[in-house]
Symmetry: C2
Subunit: 513 residues, 2 copies
């Protein structure tokens, strides 16, 4: 079992090689933090006209970072360290550091610079093509771009290497060690329970009232509510900042000392409120890294899936539970007295769990969300492996929506063209569902550990959860691999049954199935 | 006479050495833009707890920039170019580029790295000491820091070199080619007219009503007014952004494409409104650089003094004139109808020109402002030249305030300790008054060029002024030295009589002297 011991979070600075490695990685961390800052600035305030000059700055920075990640001296140092790292006096922190550095070093050296640059150009161009194709509901104009993007993804996979399935190389970029076979094993029960639960909910004929979530909520008041909720779950604003952007995101500027998030506002209150809890989950994870990991590639999260597990845990398992709102609903009523004085906490919490099969992934509830992901996973791995032709994609997409969700896109814009992700790469989508599975598994352990979980939550407490997560997960950053961390924290390997059980119990109760 | 010809703003890219120089300077410009971005972030939104990690990022960036500015290859290239740069086919832009690069190269190579690092540490430590000393009105605790800072400034001057006066080396850092002797020549008539005007104004017994400038002006409305005024004078928000910071400033992220400014809000309306026009002047200058100068050290302003001339021109000569407000006052009345419906434009403009001898530089009017600067100039050059001991400073400071302004500081906190500048270096203060002199000289030329200047301004037009300034000054960035530029634009060398005449006429009229 992991506990926060010196061995787990401290580097062996007495070793000259570890010291040299840290020196090199810290400079890189500073440059990557500047990269995060330019990105933050670009999404939260940069003048529209500054795009050209910013692209030069980004390229200069990217060049310096790439130079450092491909330095032969770094490669030699890693090889030297790998031959001794399992022995004394090296710590788990040292081992994690070398492993993470090796991952990025390999990725940086294995991919030819020319391919990376071509892909970056293709990303920019195909993003613009996607925007146009979506606006005009014209898949045919995007198809040649998608074809080229798939070609690049295959090249990437071939350069990186894989054992069984070309798609494994892409999965590994986001979730170290993950394979297509493992994703299929994990996703199968999720697909089955989601389809069957959705059918039972639809058959129940029960309708949940959500009308009060829509209204004339001022931006200033929504911001105030988001801030109060974030403070209550333990987000530290002395080391954070909340801003507005078109798409909510969380970013850490190289350290737990500077972890910022964004939300967006609309007349549908959960848009900002639940985004705050979701990004808050990411932010708590980032702020929780041990300070000894500052300016190293093991500060932050263990993987995209582990990161998503924490945003989903705080947003859904905790943030959509009635117990949580019993402790926090007074904030909503204080900030918007006219809109919520007449709404009970039970009705409020239930409205946040309204289930409806829809065409759009980002609006999906906990029952249907994973079906959107599974469709994307099935199609993208088939494309990478040459089993699905781009021209057949819209038809297959619509078929899967009909089969899994019982709805069929009225247009490609609301179908195969709805997500931007493919312009940036393949292999990312599964992280979302992995996050839901890891999250449910960790949540189940949490509840076992605290017999009075709901009572404490209902009394307004959340610190006991944060403390527990920090001690067992957050403090370690990326020192441990996600599978290892999950095993240590929950006592078993990734097991989709926790999600199956969680979603079944929760929605059977809400929909009285 | 300068006109915007190809020769003035284009580099000879066909020359391989110019091309290599541009390549090197553009990478540096990108890194310096990132430095400007970190600074902007730090002053407008960075979490308070991120100070430590940001200091590492800043040091890494500073190290990369210093490495590039001291590269032997750059030095060799500059020497090669200097031997041919006056000949064909080289342009004025090429010559300006080489000159500006040489300035920074020399400064970077002449100052030992150790001295620069020690000074940076001294700056941080003495800034903290200054904050404490000012809070506790305790000059004695700051004195040893000031002693050390002066020592560093002497070392800097000795490394850089000078002909006549050690202080000249420091002046040159901010105003290329400026000497103590020249400052004395320029400042003498300014000191005399300021002292005599102030006495005549005080003797007149006339009081100007300013009460309506104080009030409960909401921040959102002040922001709206600042934005409207800035738009009206031609500040381009597509290439700009307005934020809040403790001390208003303007910064350009390496290009006319990204020029941002800040203001601050209080219950005294001019605090935000006039800061907007002042920073707006700086911003118009920065946004006006020819796009061919992008990512080079000749984008931006010719010197600190020339920059200040533009902020002062827009803030004071234009922005505190009745003619300007005849064209813009409706904005103030629209944004704050209750406060200003009963105030005439004449009374409003007059209130902005209220003269009062005070202890605090940043609150000073156009008549007394330069006296604050002259006192600082006289004392700091005497300190650098060892003619004034630190221990005598408070006494001398107070004496000068009594003699020049007829007021005496009630405390060192409001006296010798009021400005932060000395912790960052000496030689900067004169730029402020130089700006006032250059500004008045350019303003006088402007008025000669447009017989209907006041009428056009009163009708709400300002574009004719901006166009004229852009064509003659802004577009050239730092290609020409400030003295050369001033000569070309106004037809004569720096001449303080323009300021003397401007300030005498303006305040004789306002105070009916």
């Amino acid at each position: 079992m992991l506990v926060t011991e010196q061995n787990d979070i401290n580097f062996t600075q007495s070793d000259q090689r570890i010291n040299e490695l840290l020196h090199a990685l810290r400079e890189i961390a500073d440059l990557e933090a500047l990269q995060a800052l330019t990105d933050w600035d670009q999404q939260t305030g940069m003048p529209a006209g500054a795009g050209e000059v910013r692209s030069y700055q980004a390229a200069t920075l990217q060049g310096l970072i790439h130079e450092r990640w491909t330095s032969p001296r770094l490669g030699k140092l890693l090889t030297e360290l790998e031959s001794v790292i399992e022995q004394s006096p090296f710590t788990n922190a040292d081992r994690g550091l070398v492993r993470q550095a090796r991952r990025v070093y390999d990725r940086s050296t294995k991919l030819p610079r020319q391919l990376v640059e071509e892909m970056e150009r293709a990303r920019v161009i195909s993003h613009e093509a996607w925007v146009q194709a979506r606006a005009h509901n014209d898949f045919a104009s995007f198809a040649p771009h998608l074809e080229r993007l798939i070609g690049y993804q295959r090249e990437v996979a071939d350069h990186i290497g894989y054992r069984e399935n070309r798609y494994d190389a892409l999965l590994d970029l986001y979730e170290p060690g993950l394979t297509t076979r493992e994703v299929e094993r994990l996703f199968a029960p999720v697909r089955d329970i989601s389809i069957s639960l959705l059918k039972r909910i639809q058959a129940s004929g029960k309708k949940i009232n959500t009308s009060f979530l829509q209204g004339d909520f001022s931006e200033a008041q929504q911001k105030l509510l988001a801030e109060k909720l974030l403070k209550n779950i333990g987000y530290d604003l002395v080391r954070g900042q909340i801003a507005i952007s078109a798409h909510p995101f969380t970013t850490s500027m190289g350290s737990p000392q500077d972890v910022r998030l964004t939300v967006r506002y609309s007349d549908y209150l959960p848009m900002s409120m639940m985004a705050a809890l979701h990004e808050g989950g990411h932010a708590l994870y980032e702020q929780g890294s041990a300070s000894s990991l500052l300016r190293t590639p093991v500060a932050g999260g263990a993987s995209m899936g582990m990161h998503e597990s924490q945003s989903r845990l705080w947003e859904n398992a905790i943030g959509r539970s009635e117990a949580f709102w019993r402790g926090q609903y007074h904030l909503v009523q204080e900030v918007f007295p006219q809109s919520f004085q007449q709404v009970s906490v039970t009705d409020f919490a239930r409205a946040l769990n309204h289930v409806e099969a829809s065409l759009i992934r980002v609006e999906a509830d906990e029952v249907t969300y994973n079906l959107h992901i599974i469709i994307r996973f099935e199609l993208e791995q088939a494309m990478v492996n040459g089993k699905v032709a781009v021209e057949d994609l819209p038809r297959l997409w619509n078929e899967k929506y009909r089969t899994y969700l019982g709805v069929e896109p009225d247009s490609d814009a609301n179908g195969v063209l709805q997500d931007v992700h493919w312009t940036s790469g393949f292999g990312y989508f599964p992280s979302y569902t992995l996050g839901n599975l890891y999250g449910a598994q960790i949540y189940s352990t949490l509840r076992r550990n605290f017999a009075d979980f709901d009572q404490r939550l209902a009394s307004g407490e959340t610190a006991f959860i944060l403390d527990w997560l920090r001690e067992r997960i957050y403090t370690f950053g990326a020192i441990y691999q996600p599978a290892e961390l999950l095993q240590h924290v929950t006592g078993e390997a990734a097991n989709p049954q926790h999600f199956v059980q969680y979603v079944t119990e929760k929605f059977s109760k809400i929909y009285e199935l």
